[in-house]
Structure formats: C-alpha cells, structure tokens
C-alpha cells in the first residue's frame, strides 16, 4: 500500500479522496491539539513573556506585586473562558508581538489593547468582592493603575 502510494500518488489519492481528506483533517486536529498543548505549556510561565526585552519592566513590577504568587501574565492577558478561546487569544496576540518585536521598534511605548480580556480576568478572581456594588461595570484598572504594573 505504501509502495503504491509512492509510485502512483495522484491516481491513488484521487481514488481514495474522501479517506485522505479525513486522514488529513485527523492529522491536522492532532497537530493542533498537540501543538497548542505544547505551546500553552511552553508559554505558560511569566518567564516566557519576559524573554522579550520590552517585557522587562512589566515583568519586574509583576514580580514585586501581590499578584506574583497566584497569577502569571496569561491569567490576565489571555482569554480564560475556555481552552479554545485561550489558545486563540495566545496565537493571535503572540504573532503580533513576534511581528512587532522582529520588525517594529521594540522600544515603542506599550499600551494595552485587549482591555476586555483583562477586565474579565479581574472579575474571574475578584467578582465576589465587587458583586454587591457598582464597580462591576467599571474598568478595574481605571483606578488600579499600578495593579500589577504600570507607572
């Protein structure tokens, strides 16, 4: 079967078109799962994020904050609603960071874009503190400018 595949690829593939597509999809799914498991594990710790120079300041501030024992960067900066959302948010923003870091000026002032994600994450941990007051609807970091970092 293998030999045949090598000798006459096109015809065979055409013949078993459905099967091959299925195998292909299967392989792709496995690769995505294995890959994202790996990537998620590899990018889990704050040290990964801090491997970029631009992350130095925010990293050191986080490391001096009350949050260091319980949270790392991803707890706030990636969508934690579910596994797929987490992986997707990592992949998209990670590519962005890589691009900017490689081709852009890494010393540009950083600014937070994904405020919604961060806000949701604050609530993920602190909802019970604020659920009985109006703060629920306000951006936490409007007041908590330096939690856990920022000048």
């Amino acid at each position: 079967m293998l030999k045949q595949l090598i000798r006459a690829p096109s015809s065979l593939i055409m013949k078993h078109k459905g099967l091959v597509v299925l195998i292909g999809i299967g392989l792709a799914v496995i690769m995505i799962i294995v890959g994202s498991l790996g990537v998620n594990a590899y990018t889990k710790e704050a040290e990964f994020c801090a491997s970029c120079h631009v992350m130095d300041t925010v990293y050191r501030e986080w490391q001096h904050s009350a949050h260091r024992e319980f949270t790392n960067c991803n707890d706030c900066h990636t969508d934690q609603k579910n596994y797929v959302a987490k992986t997707w948010s990592k992949a998209t923003s990670g590519t962005g960071h890589l691009y900017h870091n490689t081709f852009g000026d890494p010393n540009v002032m950083l600014e937070l874009k994904n405020t919604e994600t961060v806000q949701e994450n604050c609530l993920r941990c602190h909802a019970n503190l604020v659920e009985s007051n109006f703060l629920m609807d306000d951006d936490c970091f409007r007041c908590h400018r330096t939690t856990p970092h920022g000048m």
Binding site: A46, E47, A50, D56, H64, S65, M151
Partner: protein, 427 residues
C-alpha cells in the same frame, strides 16, 4: 513560589571579578547605590517604638542583661544594631573583641570573607581577627558583593556558612529560585550560629533538627555545647544571636511566599524608573511601599497592628528577662547557704540555661516578635515556665537548709559604657 531567575538585560555594566568597592558597583546602579548610602544615617527622631538605628546600649536600657550574661562579653558591651555600612567599624570597636578573637567574627561583616576563605580554606576561621584586619579589603563593610554576582548581577549565596548549612539540608546553594534568594541572601548573616570548636572555629548554623527554639536547644544539648560558663552560677550557658531567619521561616508571611526583601527592600519609584531600596531599616518607616503592595488598609492600620503584636511580645519579653535575672542571682546567693541540697541547686542551674535560651530567642531577634508572633510568644511562655520552676527549687532548697538570702538586681547606672566612635565608613 515560582522560579524567576531573570537577568537584568537593559543596562550594561563592567564590574571586575573580585571587585568589592561599592563605589565602583554604584557607578552603574545609581539608585541602588544612593539608597545604600542611606544606611549611614542615624536619625534619632526617626526611630520606631521598638526599632532604631542608633548605636545605643542594650545593657543600659535593660540592666538585667548584665546579670543574665555575667562572665560573657555581651554583659559588658551590646548595642542596638544599625545600618550595614557600619558593620566593620562596629566590629572593631566592640569590647567583646580582643587579641584572641578568631577570624570567625569577621564572617558577616565584609565582602572580603569569600575571598579570604578561598585563599585560606577552613583555616580562615581560626586565624586571628586582628590578622585578617590587616588586609585593607577587610575594612570594606557589607556591600554589593555580599549578595550579587558581578557578572550577572543575580543574587548569589557567597557566605561559606550558609552554603555549608544548605548543603547539609540537601539543598544546592547555586540552584535556588530567585524568590528563595530574596530571603536567603539575608539568611547568610541574620541567623543563629556557633563556632564549631572541633572544626577550627568554623561558623556553623544549628539547623539539622528544625527551626523551633526547642529543636535548636536539642541540637546543642546533643552536642553538649556551651557558649560560656556563667560567672555567677557556673552553669554552661547558651547565647542566641539574631535568629531572624529561624523566626521568620514558618511565619504567616513566609508561608504566603513573602521574602525579607519584600518588606525591607521595597520597590521604589525614582522618576520614571523603579528599583529595590537598598536602605535596610525598619519597614515601618516605609510602610506605604513595604506593606502597601499587599495590604491595602493603609499604613496607619498596619502600624497599629504591628504595635498590637509588639506590645504583647515586649510585655512578656521584659518580664521573662527579669525573672531569669532573679533566678540567676538567687542561685548565686543560695549556693552559699551551708547545707543546701546541691541536687536541687543543680537542677535550678539547668533550668536557668533553658530559661535564658527561650528568652534570648526573642530578645536577640530584632523585630520584637513581629516576624512570627506565635513562635515568639510561645517561646516566652516557656522561658517564664523554666525560670519560675528554677526559682521554686532554689527557694525551697534554701528554706530546707534554713538559710534566707536577698538579691540585688542590676541597675542602669551599673552598665559598662559603650566606646565612643568618631570614624565614618568610606563607602
């Protein structure tokens, strides 16, 4: 706590191997250096209820210490500790030091120690202190090289006794996490120690039984160790020295992952930059930054709470100290009574050793119990228990022998004066 071994990468520096002068290191790190220079400050008004950076006599303040330590250097000269930069000056001017003092005493006072140790090996310890002091580098007080690697600026355990102690506990001093090192660089010095007389006066940390006062007492008992023979009772005694780390190591803060540096080296803003304060002093002076990172109830609330704890500890501490003095003086007086049952007196003497040990574990510790209130108060209850047991024995034995005695507690006026210092550290 996680491993955050992250080198500084945005600054360039070039510090030669073996460089000890803080001025050289300071060129590259001006914020850390100028906060380091603040360790020279001695502002009398700036003191807190129980902490201070004034070189004042503990003996005059708590006169009973003269009798507790009779026959030992501490009864003659023992002062409130102050900033790191005074370390060598204070060492060379204390009356506890004499021509026979071994090099061991230099161990926690200068960055020259790891260098000397590399040169001399274990002979470093037994070499007389006076000998070591001929090397001008020994006059450099505690400085950058005591805690940092000159190439990476990472924290590093350089002091031989802590390296030994960690290895004995199965830990590799070169494979600690950054967060662990933020406590352990301090534990290089802020720990109880003894001179291992069977090993060339090697400075050793008595940690293998555990960190409770009872564990360390047991360690010394197994070793039949004595720091000095008491001048009034003849009992072989123990002296505790600055057990900050041993006290802290199972506190609420330690369990929560907090390190010495979190409180004593708060992250501080200088214009657009942040740096770790290198002014090691009472965190109550910097409560906003030191405690505010984690405690949002304001620095007044923090100070109130610290005071609640410290007042309770101080109350039992001074009470326990006075009872120990009473016991020692009573043993001294009762021993002279003819026909007194020696067995009872001997029992009381052993109790005086124990009472003083459990008292000193808190007295020699420098936070008035704050570093671990439960451990401090538990230790003081033990001290009072032993001292009062001893007193009961002595008084009963004296009465059986039909002899009465009176005692005369020491007074502030009796205290030996501290030597004046005019020198200033060159840093």
């Amino acid at each position: 706590t996680r491993n955050v071994n992250k080198p500084l990468t945005t600054i360039a520096w070039d510090i030669p191997d073996g460089e000890m002068d803080p001025k050289v290191w300071g060129k590259y790190f001006p914020h850390q250096y100028s906060s380091y220079q603040k360790n020279m400050e001695v502002i009398a008004e700036d003191k807190t209820n129980y902490g201070s950076s004034e070189r004042k006599s503990h003996i005059a303040a708590y006169p009973w210490k003269q009798n507790i330590w009779a026959g030992y250097g501490f009864s003659k000269d023992y002062n409130e500790e102050r900033g790191h930069v005074w370390s060598v000056i204070d060492l060379t001017s204390t009356q506890r030091v004499n021509a026979k003092t071994p090099g061991s005493c230099l161990t926690c006072k200068t960055p020259n120690v790891p260098v000397l140790y590399e040169q001399l090996g274990d002979d470093y310890y037994a070499t007389p202190l006076a000998e070591h002091l001929k090397d001008p580098n020994s006059m450099i007080p505690i400085s950058c090289a005591n805690c940092h690697d000159n190439e990476t600026m990472e924290l590093k355990i350089v002091q031989p006794p802590l390296r030994d102690a960690l290895k004995k506990l199965g830990q590799d001093p070169d494979k600690l996490t950054h967060q662990e090192k933020r406590t352990l660089v301090c534990a290089q010095c802020h720990v109880e120690y003894y001179f291992d007389k069977e090993n060339k006066s090697r400075v050793t940390f008595p940690w293998t039984e555990g960190f409770e006062p009872a564990n360390i007492e047991e360690y010394y008992a197994d070793l039949e160790f004595v720091d000095w023979e008491h001048a009034k009772t003849g009992q072989g005694m123990l002296k505790t020295q600055h057990p900050e780390y041993e006290t802290f190591v199972d506190s609420a803060h330690y369990q929560a992952g907090v390190s010495c540096a979190d409180c004593h080296m708060p992250y501080t803003k200088a214009g657009n930059e942040k740096y770790s304060s290198h002014w090691w002093t009472s965190p109550l002076k910097t409560a906003e930054q030191s405690c505010g990172t984690c405690h949002k109830d304001g620095s007044d609330a923090r100070r109130d709470r610290v005071q609640y704890i410290q007042d309770k500890v101080a109350d039992q501490l001074h009470k326990a100290g006075k009872i120990s003095e009473e016991l020692i003086l009573s043993i001294e007086a009762a021993q002279k009574i003819e026909g007194i049952e020696q067995l009872k007196v001997d029992e009381a003497k052993v109790l005086s050793r124990r009472a003083v040990w459990y008292w000193d574990f808190v007295a020699a510790e420098n936070s008035m119990g704050f570093h671990n209130p439960e451990k401090a108060l538990h230790s003081l209850a033990d001290s009072i228990d032993y001292a009062r047991q001893g007193l009961a024995l002595v008084k009963e034995a004296a009465a059986w022998a039909g002899g009465s005695f009176t005692i005369q507690p020491a007074k502030t006026e009796d205290a030996n004066p501290t030597r004046e210092i005019t020198e200033k550290p060159n840093i």
